[in-house]
Amino acid sequence: MSIKGKAYLVGAYEHPTRKATDKSVAQLHAEVAKGALADAGLTKQDVDGYFCAGDAPGLGPLSMADYLGLKLRHLESTDTGGSSYLVHVSHAAQAIAAGKCNVALVTLAGRPRSEGSSGTQPRSWGAAVPDGPFEAPYGIVTANSYAMVAMRHMYEYGTTSEQLAWIKVAASHHAQHNPHAMLREVVTVKEVLDSPMVADPLHRMDCCVVSDGGGALIVARPDIARDLKRPLVKLIGAGESPKGQAGGKLNLTTSGAAWSGATAFAEAGVQPADIQYASIYDSFTITVLVQLEDLGFCKKGEGGRFVADGNLISGSGKLPFNTDGGGLCNNHPANRGGMTKVIEAVRQLRGEAHPAVQVKNCALALAQGTGGQLGTRHGSATLIFERE
């Protein structure tokens, strides 16, 4: 059974806050849920499916369903890090197609900025994690994990820091138009290269921001979607895949997007060249480059040339990406960027992106998420949407 056309993205909301010292995490979840329902023109009583990941406090969705006062017949807490929310959309479509729910709510929220989180801090997954004893002593953090992928990509394919910098430059061109973005200043390749080296070869401006906030999505049955007064955004393809170290037989320069993307494109029946707008998870510039290659927007190893010279800038480039400024400039709520990738794709398909970055007649868009760490193990998820 395919999920193609079985569900629509009817509500999307991004929390405007970037620093929420005065709010609780649960409160942020509730605020984004309310925002997405209002966006869809639905009420809390319409929700019968709920999806959340590890950023939701408590025991999976139990704490949040109780806090939000949801009466549910379907719930799920798949956690694949920052890609979770793309997986949730796919699984919500599956649940809707199977008749397990009619209206699914997906929420994400967190306040890592208020809590002093940083990509140079060790992350703990618990004492029982089997890889932990073989990684924690070596000081693996988010930044140096992704940096090792960048270093290897440069070695294998001749990718340069200048090429990676173009990804940040493109994001900054978009962020200047987003009043909520944390970093709205347009930057140059030279400014990226002149920013402090964090983890060789990644400079500070190769890294995403740390922000508080969140977002929510509403996925609904086709007939419910058609009764609403919003542009119709139909899910036509989805893929998900984990990727790890393969028992030590490493392939660092290929991400799970090679599998999740192929699955999503096959289901959607479209090609990368058909995509008019792409939200690509941008925890780091290298994350974008590797995913673009693996999704098939260019050949493996040619990502550097593909992203250079403004090719990702809306209006002038071939593939407009992350027109909200992405994680590199806008926000990265809960250190999980998948949610905002879907939200901006929905804006583009509805024609509700900022006019300066809106893709003309945008009818086919892709959202790509990565979670965990690219250099060790990660989850990848790909969604393809069509405006009806």
Binding site: P130, G132, E135, N144, M148, A199, G247
Partner: protein, 132 residues
């Protein structure tokens, strides 16, 4: 030039499945898991082979030499810069590690390295690598 400095190394969480690896490390030996069914090494070590899922895995002494597959020096947000790396061992598998006791600015992909063992805070020593 950035000479590596010793840093405080968190102790690995030893459990029944990985005990032999860290016991050997305490004696200056690097062990790898080898699967007698599919004749493949793997790392990090498991009881069941992650390649073929056989339980016929055994510990074998590794030569303790290899080459750097990739690396990165973390320079910000930490008290002392350090070099994380994947080293591809002669046995064919790659392991996450640190490159130590050298000029970190001179570390390169493909550089031959050999194992050394560094103490951890309150736990067994762990294998790291230094230019051969």
């Amino acid at each position: 030039m950035l000479l590596s400095e010793d840093r405080k190394i968190p102790a690995p969480a030893v459990n029944p499945e990985n005990q032999a690896f860290f016991d050997a490390a305490a004696n200056g030996k690097l062990l790898l898991k080898f699967c007698k069914t599919c004749q493949e090494y793997h790392h990090y070590p498991r009881t069941l082979c992650p390649h073929c899922f056989s339980e016929q895995t055994e510990w074998r002494d590794a030569k303790g030499v290899g080459t750097i597959h990739t690396h990165s020096v973390l320079r910000r947000g930490v008290p002392t810069p350090y070099c994380i790396a994947y080293v591809t061992l002669d046995e064919g598998v790659s392991m996450l590690t640190n490159i130590v006791d050298c000029d970190l600015d001179a570390v390169k992909i493909g550089m031959p390295v050999k194992v050394t063992f560094k103490p951890t805070e309150g736990g067994p020593p762990v294998p790291m690598f230094t230019p051969a």
